[in-house]
Assembly symmetry: C2
Homo-oligomer: 397 residues x 2
Amino acid sequence: MDRGALSNITILDLSRVLAGPFCGMMFADMGATVIKVENPQGGADERSMGPFQNGESAYSMNLNRNKRGITLNLKEAKGKELFKRLVAKADVVLENYRPGTMEKLGLGYDELSKINPMIVYGSISGFGHTGPYSKRPGYDIIAQAMGGLMSTTGWPGGQPTRTGTAMGDVLGGLSCAIGVLAALNARSTVGRGQKVDIALVDSVVASLEIINMVYFVEHRIPERIGNRYESTYPYDTFRTSDGTIVIAAGNNKLWESLAHVMSRADLLEDARFATVAQRVAHHEALKPLVEEWTMRYTTQEVYDMVDGAGVPCAPIYDIAQVAADPHIAGAREMFVEHEHPVAGKLKITGSHLKLSETPATIRTPAPALGQDNQAVYGGLLGLTSEEIASLRDEGVL
Amino acid sequence: MDRGALSNITILDLSRVLAGPFCGMMFADMGATVIKVENPQGGADERSMGPFQNGESAYSMNLNRNKRGITLNLKEAKGKELFKRLVAKADVVLENYRPGTMEKLGLGYDELSKINPMIVYGSISGFGHTGPYSKRPGYDIIAQAMGGLMSTTGWPGGQPTRTGTAMGDVLGGLSCAIGVLAALNARSTVGRGQKVDIALVDSVVASLEIINMVYFVEHRIPERIGNRYESTYPYDTFRTSDGTIVIAAGNNKLWESLAHVMSRADLLEDARFATVAQRVAHHEALKPLVEEWTMRYTTQEVYDMVDGAGVPCAPIYDIAQVAADPHIAGAREMFVEHEHPVAGKLKITGSHLKLSETPATIRTPAPALGQDNQAVYGGLLGLTSEEIASLRDEGVL
C-alpha cells in the first residue's frame, strides 16, 4: 500500500530549526502533505546550519525530506492574504515562533480559526503561550536546564550535564505531533479544530517521570548518580579492558546468575548484597567487585559471558557503531540512503514509526527554496503563472 | 468542554512499568477510555516499584491515573476468550511484552485483527518485532547505550553517561502514541487497523538528529563535549559564585551584547573570537574568560545582568526548583495535587499536552487492582455478577 497513514492531511509548516521541523518531518514521513512555508529571503534558518554536503545543509535535508516547499512573505499584506487562503484549504498549521509573533502578524490562532474553524494549530515554544515566562526565548539548552533534566544527568560531585542531543527540542517535537493528532481526532467529536500549545520546558518536565515522584513522596532531591539507577543494583555501566559495558542484573535471580558467571558465588553469601535494597545501599562496594572481573576481558568477551548467562547487557555504541549495526541500520532501516539533486547521495535518519499497513517512507528530498510555488499557488489556490511571477517580483513570494 | 480529545477511543492497556503505561497515560489524560488489564496475581509490575506513599506505589499512581482497571489471566483459555471479546469492542491494544509473548499466548496482532480488523495494535519493545535482536531484553539503559545517546552525553575524557531519566522509555512511549494516533487516522482512509511496532532503540536513534548527520557528512564520530554545542559559542554552562548558569549567546549580535555586559569590549577586538566558527574553535580559551566574570556573582545576579542585556540565559533547576517555579508549577500546571483513596493527597505530574478546546485533565486516581471488573465485564461484555464471581473463583479474573 503506497498511501501513508496521514495521506488525507495537509499541513502548513512555518517552523524553523529543530523542534517544529522534526514534528513536520514525522507527519511528512507518514504521508501527510506538508508544505514548508519559507521567507523568500534565504528561507528557513536551518538551511544555513551545518554540517554541509556540496553546500547543502544536511541538518535541513534530514529534517525537511518529504516536504513540499513554497516561499511567502508573511509581513506583506498580500502574503498574509495568500496565507489565509492556504489556511482555508489546510488541516494543520505548525509553527515554533516566539509566542506573540503570529499574533503580531495578524495570523494568530484566533484569526486563523475564523477563516477555518476546523484548523488545528500546533505551536511549539520554549515556555508555552501562557504564563509569566511565555515571551522568554526558548532554546533546547534552556529547556534542559529549567526542566530539571540537567540537574539529574551526570556524576556525583560533577557538574549538571546536558544530554548530548537536543533532547528538549526532540521531546517538544514528539509531543506536538501527539497533540496535533489528538486534536485532528477530536474534530470528529467536537466539530472544530483547536490550538495545541507545546512548551519545551513542559515536555522536559514530563520526561522526568519517576524523578518527580521521588521528590514529591520522599521529599528528597534526586541527585546526579552517574549511570546507575536508584531502584536496583548492579544495574550500571562497568569498565572493560577496551571500553565500557552495561549490565542490568535488576533482580535476585539475575544477580545470582551474574555472580556465578563471575565465579564469585561467595558474594551471594555476603550480607551486604543479600537483597536488591542492600545492593543499592552498598553499590559503592559492589561496583569495584564487578569491575575487577569485567576489566579482565574485552567488552565483547564480557558481553558473550554475561549474555550467555541470561543476564541483560549491552555494549555502549558510538555513532559509527550505531550506523553499522546489522539490526539497527540493517533490519530496522534506521538510516536510509537518499539522492538529493544538489548534495548527491546522502544517508539520512529513517523513520522510527513502524506501521504495518501504511509504512512511513522517504520519498522526496528536502525542497529547494520555493520549488513548489507553481504547484501550490497554481494548483491549490488557482493562481495563474503570470500572477505568481508578479507576486515574486513584488517580493511576496 | 468536558470531553477529551480522545473521548471516542477505547484502549486495552496490557503494558507494564514505564514506556507502555506512559503512552497509555497520555491517552487517558486526553479522555480515552483506557482499560488497564492486569494479571490477578499482584497486578502490573510497577505496583511494586517505589517510591511509596501509604504503601501505594507513586510510580504506579502517576502513570496509571485516569485509567480503569480490570484483572484478567491471559494464560487461561477463558481469559483469552474474554480478552478477544474485549478486543472486538476496542479501538486500540497497547502492550510492551518482549516480542513473541503475545503470539505465544495466541493473542498476537494477526489473531486479534481477525476478530477486529479495525483494531490498532501498539507495541513497544527494546529492539522491535523484526530483526536479529528482536528477542533481546529491552531495558531503558540498554536503549540509551546501543542507540548512541550515552556515547554523546558527558564530558571530554569522562565516561559515557546515561541521561538522568529513563529517556529511552519516555521516547518510546511518546513515539508509540504518535504511531497509534496516526494509525487511528488511517482507519478512515485504508479501512482497517494495523500494527505499530515501536522500538526503544529506534526511538533513541531518531532523537540523535544532527549527531547522526555529523557522522554521515563529516565522517567524524561526535564525542562527549560536556554542555557546549558543536555549532556555536559561547553557548554553554558557566559556574557562578553559588552554582551554574546557562548562557546562550549563539550569534555575533548576542556575543557583542554579552561582551559589553561583562565590560569586556576588548574581547570583540580579539581575532580568536571574531566569528562564530572562531569562537567554537577557541572555546577552551573563551570559557574561562566568561567564567572569570560569572564567578564573581551569584546565579541570580548573572541572570539579571545577562537577561537584561537581551542575551538568552537560564538557571539550572533542581527538581525542588522545578516543582516550586511559578511558571512551570503555577501557570503551566505541570504538577497536580490529587487525592488517592489509599495514599491520600499526592502531587503527580500534569499533562504537557495543552489543547485549547479539549484540555487534558486528571480526573480519577490510578485504579485498585480489578476495581472495574464489574463495570467492564458487566457493562461492556454483559456478564452477570454471578458469572464474574465464578470467573474470579476460577482464577480467570
